[in-house]
Amino acid sequence: MNTLTLGRDLLVGVLLVPAVVLLLAAAGERALHRIDHRVAQRLRPWGWLTPVLVAVVAVLVYPTVLTLVRSLRGADGTGFVGLDNYLWALTGDNLRSLLNNALWVVLLPLGVVLLGLVMAVLIDRVRYERTARSLLVLPTAISLTAAGISWRLLYSWSPEGRTQLGVLNAVLTKLGLSPVPWIARPPSDMQWLNTVALIGVGVWAGLGLSVLVLSAAVKAVPEELLEAARLDGAGEIRVFLNITLPFVWPSVLTVATTQFTAAVKTFDVVYVMTNGGAGTNVVANQLYTELFRYPSDLGHASAIAVLLLVVTLPVVWFNIRSIRREAL
């Protein structure tokens, strides 16, 4: 992007759009002043809501409906093929992708929450807490694409006896162990571990936010309760399980559910690091391939998108509900 287009985008985004929205709102308010007070009272919320509703319909509702329709159509978006696309999405090579996604869905939230909790509790007790937390949050500032490329290098493997360019294998070799082909295991050698290695990158990238949220929750646990429990002779683990954990539980759920949705639609790390090779394909990567290679298959891509939506919806609903409850 050159400076000219950047300047133009800034102008449009920062100044023009809010200006237009404000003008519209002002015009609406003026119009409302002219009509009967009670009617105006009823209309006012809608006037204010309209810009948002228009945006939501344009960027969310319309594409969703279009995707639903296309998932029942052929590769070029015409004809009617019934549930063929869904049948395809749930069988053959796609079964592997689904299983990999299942692995992501279980391990990513688990890893992020468990490590996040441990870190949050531990850094609460050290003097260099700020530094530690900053270090943990740092990966959040790195895009998953960049993280993927860096981790591809960290995971790099050479045959035993050769110079190991990957840091992890270099360390293993120094310790006298055999180097591990982290993301390139062959089918004969527990290939699902390749996916676990990719999930590791996801955990590393997601940990920062998790620590932020959970450490705030940990700080909110009343000190006197902890004191009382300790005085009553409870060990640190007991204190954690019976007092800290129940207090931070809502935050744990928030982190877990966001990581769950991230796991369902995981793409960046897989695309950058293996592009679905070595048995690591996931549903979203397949969606990308179906949609953007030539000739593309709109039917397949749409069916996958709908499946992703269906799987994510309950969690999103649950998440919104718990956020609302917290707000009350």
Binding site: M1, N2, T5, R8, D9, V12, G13, V14, L16, V17, P18, V20, V21, L22, A25, W48, L49, P51, V52, A55, V56, A58, V59, D93, T145, I149, R152, S156, W157, S158, P159, R162, P181, A184, P186, P187, S188, Y271, V272, M273, T274, N275, G276, G277, A278, Y288, T289, F292, R293, Y294, P295, S296
Partner: protein, 467 residues
């Protein structure tokens, strides 16, 4: 407390509305810079290699002629595949056009070009010029009626004068030419002159016999070098390996049938070519580090094992760019003194002088037709413009008018001789097939190296991607 809260809620819709519409509009506004991941933008005025001034002057004159006295304005967006220093060299060859016509060029290179282009077309902001890997994209858009006819823009006589007939044929649909061949790579067998003592001529059987003897020695120096890890494009160097075997086994006519989809991937001919590749790539002793290393090692180290200490391998069958890539690790390496090549051997003497090529083709879409686009295509087809690409020393070019002494290094000059001296130039499926097939070809190669027993089902999968 409540007052603060209420104030906040009253303000909230306004803030949200502003934020949402700002997001929506900015995303539209920035959609026309087509840089995607792996992409890198550069403008033509960016750092350029110093090119011989006489060549630059000649190209500027050619650009003025291409403009044909028309007043050209505005800018051209060009979507290519090469970024970084390679992209800069390509952009340097475009600069005389900018200087001569006043049109600014916005070049973006993306390794994921096919997807970026498809997304751009779907979003209604296709680039003006596409510099594509292979001819598959151009052919697809020509068949759907969306590509600009170069027979019209440039003229068949000029095209026939500047390009090999076989190459023109590869970018034609129903006798009309739709794309220009730019960089055209040759493929050869590279070796380390200091250590290699095997045959440099003769048949593939001779070379293979030597390789088997080397492999049997068990001294840790494999006969073949290879490395296929390239992120989303992993596997691609093996495409030319396999296609070359096919060409040398079954000849250019059969190759065209395969490349255009007439001969199925499940045919015995294709399978035989894959198996010849597999005899090397899936063997623990024939290839550097064994199959696990082949799929895990970055393509940057495709041939570096020839020069490593201790030496790891001896031969590297790859493009003419293999020398430049090896030099990025070993800068003191010189060609042909340290690293030299011989043509890919054939068992059938009839195909000994057929040369496989692959490279870039440039085309435009009818939707973006403009005097500027036409002028650029005329310029790009000229020997003067292509000479600048040759002068970068990075690639050999298809344009037959480019003089041999334009190439600044022996690796490229000798490769150009291989290219221009070949009896027949042939292109394979990696050049002609649509991107879906090429992606499946790459994925199939990676899967095959990891599990050779699956070859039949892998070939069936690639065949299925064609329909």
């Amino acid at each position: 407390m409540t007052a603060v809260l209420r104030r906040r809620t009253r303000l909230a819709p306004l803030v949200v509305a502003g934020a949402v519409s700002a997001l929506v509009l900015t995303s539209c506004a920035s959609a026309d810079d087509s840089s995607a991941d792996g992409g890198s933008g550069s403008s033509a005025s960016a750092t350029a290699k110093t090119l011989p001034q006489d060549l630059v002057d000649a190209a500027t004159a050619a650009a003025t002629e291409a403009a044909g006295g028309e007043e050209l304005t505005g800018s051209l967006t060009i979507l290519g595949v090469t970024g970084g220093a390679e992209g800069d060299d390509l952009v340097a060859a475009m600069k005389p056009f900018e200087d001569a016509t006043g049109v600014t060029i916005d070049y973006t290179g993306s390794q994921d070009q096919a997807s970026v282009l498809a997304a751009g077309i779907q979003a209604g902001n296709a680039p003006d010029i596409i510099d594509a890997q292979g001819a598959g994209l151009a052919i697809q858009y020509a068949q759907s009626g969306d590509a600009l006819s170069l027979s019209d823009v440039i003229g068949d006589d000029v095209l026939a004068q500047n390009y090999n007939a076989g190459l023109l044929n590869s970018v034609s649909v129903d006798g009309t030419v739709y794309a220009l061949w730019g960089e055209a790579d040759t493929f050869q067998v590279w070796y380390n002159t200091a250590t290699y003592d095997g045959p440099t001529e003769g048949s593939y059987a001779d070379l293979d016999a030597w390789a088997q003897t080397q492999a049997a020695k068990g001294d840790g120096v494999a006969p073949w070098c290879m490395a296929l890890e390239a992120g989303a494009g992993s596997g691609f160097p093996a495409q030319s390996w396999i296609t070359n075997q096919f060409l040398k086994m079954h000849g250019p006519e059969k190759l065209e049938q395969w490349a255009t989809g007439e001969l199925p991937w499940t045919s015995p001919e294709v399978k035989a070519a894959f198996e010849r590749f597999g005899a090397v790539a899936t063997s623990d002793t024939m290839v550097n580090g064994g199959p696990q290393a082949v799929v895990s090692t970055s393509i940057v180290d495709y041939s570096t094992g020839m020069f490593s200490d201790p030496q790891q391998c001896q031969l590297s069958m790859w493009g003419n760019y293999a020398a430049g890539l090896a030099q990025s690790t070993y800068p003191d390496l010189s060609v042909p003194e340290d690293m030299a090549f011989f043509p890919v051997p054939s068992d059938d003497p009839a195909y000994a002088n057929t040369q496989l090529t692959a490279g870039h083709t440039t085309f435009a879409l009818t939707s973006n037709d403009s005097p500027e686009v036409r002028a650029f295509l005329k310029y790009w087809a000229s020997t003067e413009a292509q000479s600048l690409i040759a002068a970068s020393g990075r690639w050999t070019v298809a344009n037959t008018g480019v003089a041999m002494d334009t190439y600044p290094n022996a690796a490229m000059e000798q490769s150009a001789e291989l290219l221009q001296g070949a009896e027949t130039l042939a292109v394979g499926p990696e050049t002609l097939a649509p991107s879906a097939v090429s992606i499946a070809y790459n994925e199939g190669i990676m899967a095959y190296v990891q599990d050779p027993s699956k070859l039949d089902s892998i070939l069936a999968t690639i065949q299925a991607s064609q329909s």
